[in-house]
């Protein structure tokens, strides 16, 4: 298994990608090819996307078509088993560190919803309130409160309540879940976690013992009320690629305790409005589009803060065309504009200089406003009772229907 060198010894030029820090080399772009190499996962190429389309009899999700979800581990095993009639379940999660979610946060959930609908499989969603309590130094109550608030936005992404179980660590850890945590913990030495996550002697023991919490939802026996008797059910984890270390550890341990290795399907990072080199940060509201933004906010942010690849003057632009590599509106459109043909057209015209930045921004504003509006309407329909129902430990008899 690939080890990441101790964070402290990492040479300055290397890019850093782990669950708590993502930064590119020299403030440039993240090199995803290098990352795939270093982590040891596989590229998700076109044959895969075609196969998914065949197996699910519906057009593949825009994130698959555009290479947003671009890497995987053992996704082919999942598809092979599915073809044989063997089901699987989905596992994803969120660390509830802040109340407002931005579009980048929604991406894994939007994709997971598609997977749930396309493959007709159940889903468990973990809210790591304990992790945020420890890493962000929040109070227990505050992190639990944030978990519930985030759950509402997650539910608004459109998950089917008869196939979805949402749980917070503070509520659910115990019983069978905890037994698996101990089994996993026994298989990972202190030196190993230090190697994987870069813990130091100054880090508190809560952090050091957290990784098993995020590992064990990959094992069906952690959810006896859902999967009892189905110990060989496979697990597929859609996540952003910075979560890979947790699951490398999990995959290493799984066979040793008699479980299937979970499969992963991983996404790129969503760029900040200011460009790939910018950081999306909760303290800079102009670095991202939030699900609570009004149409006016979105228009303002796209117009004033989106980093573009357009030229400085119209004449230059018509002559040289736009730099699509760094243009944020184009990047955002490739995430959220469904119509492949329209996107191609825009890229062609804009790249040739025939279309101006203003037009591209206008289209982006429309697309984002529609998305955020839809989310807001769905969010308004989520009540506290609905959250309670999603989070109740209850059987899901129709989870494979």
């Amino acid at each position: 298994m690939e080890k990441i060198e101790d964070k402290n010894q990492q040479p300055e030029e290397e890019q850093v990608v782990n669950p708590w820090e993502v930064s590119a080399k020299d403030g440039g772009k993240i090199d995803y090819d290098k990352l795939i190499d270093k982590f040891g996962c596989q590229r998700l190429d076109q044959p895969f996307v075609d196969r998914v389309q065949r197996l699910t009899s519906r057009p593949p999700h825009v994130f698959l078509r555009r290479g947003v979800f671009f890497a995987h581990r053992d996704f082919n095993d999942i598809l092979d088993a599915y073809e044989r009639g063997e089901k699987f379940y989905l596992y994803t999660g969120r660390g509830p560190s802040s109340e407002a979610l931005h579009l980048g946060h929604l991406i894994p959930f939007m994709f997971t919803k598609y997977l749930q609908d396309a493959f007709k499989v159940p889903l468990v969603i973990q809210l790591t309130d304990d992790e945020k309590c420890m890493w962000k130094n929040l109070s227990v109550e505050e992190s639990q409160r944030l978990a519930r608030e985030n759950a509402k936005d997650i539910i608004a992404c459109g998950f089917d309540i008869s196939k979805t179980f949402i749980f917070s660590d503070f509520d659910y850890v115990g019983g069978a879940f905890y037994k698996n945590m101990v089994k996993v913990a026994k298989c990972v030495t202190y030196n190993k976690v230090v190697g994987i996550f870069g813990f130091t002697g100054e880090d508190h023991i809560g952090k050091v013992s957290f990784p098993p919490v995020q590992a064990v939802p990959s094992f069906p026996s952690s959810f006896p009320h859902l999967f009892s008797g189905k110990d060989y059910l496979r697990c597929l984890i859609p996540c952003a690629i910075d979560q890979d270390p947790y699951f490398r550890m999990t995959r290493d341990v799984a066979p040793r305790i008699g479980y299937h290795k979970p499969a992963l399907i991983e996404s790129l990072f969503f760029p900040a409005l200011q460009g790939e080199n910018g950081k999306m940060s909760a303290s800079d509201p102009n670095s991202a589009i939030y699900v609570t933004d009004s149409a006016k906010d979105i228009k303002y942010k796209v117009n004033k803060h989106a980093f573009t690849g357009g030229q400085e003057s119209i004449e230059k632009h018509r002559q040289y065309g736009a730099n699509l590599e760094v243009d944020i509106p184009i990047k955002y459109l490739s995430f959220f504009l469904e119509d492949d043909a329209e996107l191609e057209h825009i890229k062609k015209e804009y790249g040739a200089g025939r279309m101006l930045t203003g037009e591209v921004k206008k289209r982006l504003t429309e697309v984002l406003t529609e998305l955020v509006e839809r989310h807001r309407r769905a969010r308004a329909a989520v009540t506290d009772e609905m959250v309670d129902a999603f989070m109740a430990v209850r059987p899901l008899p129709n989870m494979f229907d």
Partner: protein
């Protein structure tokens, strides 16, 4: 009816709080007040009545010399960089029920000010004697912080003293330190009009339990640093467009969308273009455009119905055998 000065003084006496009082001509500013009572051994207070973008109100009461930076305070409360403004005059009379120039911590005795957050300068604690208006600007009262505390506790308030001049960093890893002082029961409209009323209407109304739970969930409260341009009018999409598992309304919504799309598809141009094939063309387009939308609506409907059933199930009384 708001408390009167006399009622307040009587209350203070009842509670056996030590204080002294001094009448003077009506004053509207701290400077004017200082002319009359500045040399009597007490420390003057300055009092601000503030409002945030979500129509929540705050009284900030500080020593006259304490520097209060509204931008910093706004961030510390988690309202972003410019989340706090001076409250409008009308709010003064409606919520605090005191005249202009008379903002005072004692105003929280009024029912209408139940949800106003009170921020007190920790500097008061070390002063022998602090000066406030007792709900009217023709008098000043002198008491110490303990007296103020006793009074506040008697009206069910827990006094919060803070270092108003502090400027701690607020960001991703440092949550706003005063976030707990933001009122949690914001005076949300107990009815949910489609049109947004002016900000005036939100003030002073007592927050009944009649807050539609959908209204509460739709108002996503933002954390520090998200200086969102929250519209002055309350969120008008607070009422969900799909009410609780009502099959009739659900179907109406579906039909509305389908017919809107249908109408937009049929025009002189499209008739000319497709002629007899227009039916097929429109049908296909409708399916293509609406499929995902309608599935989402249906999922919301399903989730709502399931939740109703679940709720009922958890309160189900088994048959007596």
């Amino acid at each position: 009816m708001g408390y009167s000065k006399d009622q307040l003084l009587a209350r203070l006496k009842e509670l056996q709080i030590e204080f002294s009082q001094y009448e003077h001509p009506v004053v509207l500013t701290v400077e004017a007040q200082a002319k009359y009572v500045g040399n009597m051994g007490g420390v003057l207070s300055k009092n601000l009545f503030l409002k945030d973008k979500k129509h929540r109100y705050y009284v900030v009461s500080a020593l006259a010399d304490t520097k209060v930076d509204l931008k910093v305070l706004s961030q510390r409360l988690g309202l972003g960089k410019s989340g706090l403004r001076m409250a409008p005059e009308e709010a003064l009379s409606e919520i605090l029920q005191v005249p202009l120039g008379c903002v005072t911590p004692f105003a929280v005795v009024n029912e209408s000010a139940r949800h106003v957050s009170l921020l007190l300068d920790q500097g008061f604690k070390t002063q022998k004697c602090c000066i406030f208006h007792p709900l009217s600007n023709d008098m000043s009262i002198f008491l110490n912080a303990q007296g103020l505390d006793k009074f506040l506790k008697s009206v069910g308030r827990n006094p919060s003293y803070i270092d108003l001049e502090a400027n701690p960093p607020v960001g991703k890893d440092q949550p706003p330190d005063l976030a707990a002082l933001v009122p949690s029961d914001s005076p949300v409209l107990s009815d949910l009009p489609e049109k947004a009323p002016s900000s005036q209407d939100c003030t002073g109304k007592s927050v009944g339990a009649a807050i539609n739970s959908a209204a509460v969930t739709a108002k996503a409260v933002k954390p520090s640093g998200n200086a969102q341009n929250v519209k002055e009018k309350p969120v008008d999409s607070v009422r969900p467009s799909i009410p609780a598992a009502d099959a009739g309304k659900f179907v109406e919504e579906l039909l509305d969308r389908a017919s809107a799309l249908l109408l937009s598809e049929i025009s002189e141009d499209s008739i000319k273009q497709h002629g007899g094939q227009l039916g097929d063309e429109v049908a296909n387009n409708i399916k293509k455009c609406l499929r995902e939308d309608l599935k989402n609506l249906a999922t919301i409907f399903k989730n709502t119905a399931y939740t109703e059933g679940f709720y009922a199930g958890t309160r189900y009384q088994p048959k007596r055998l």
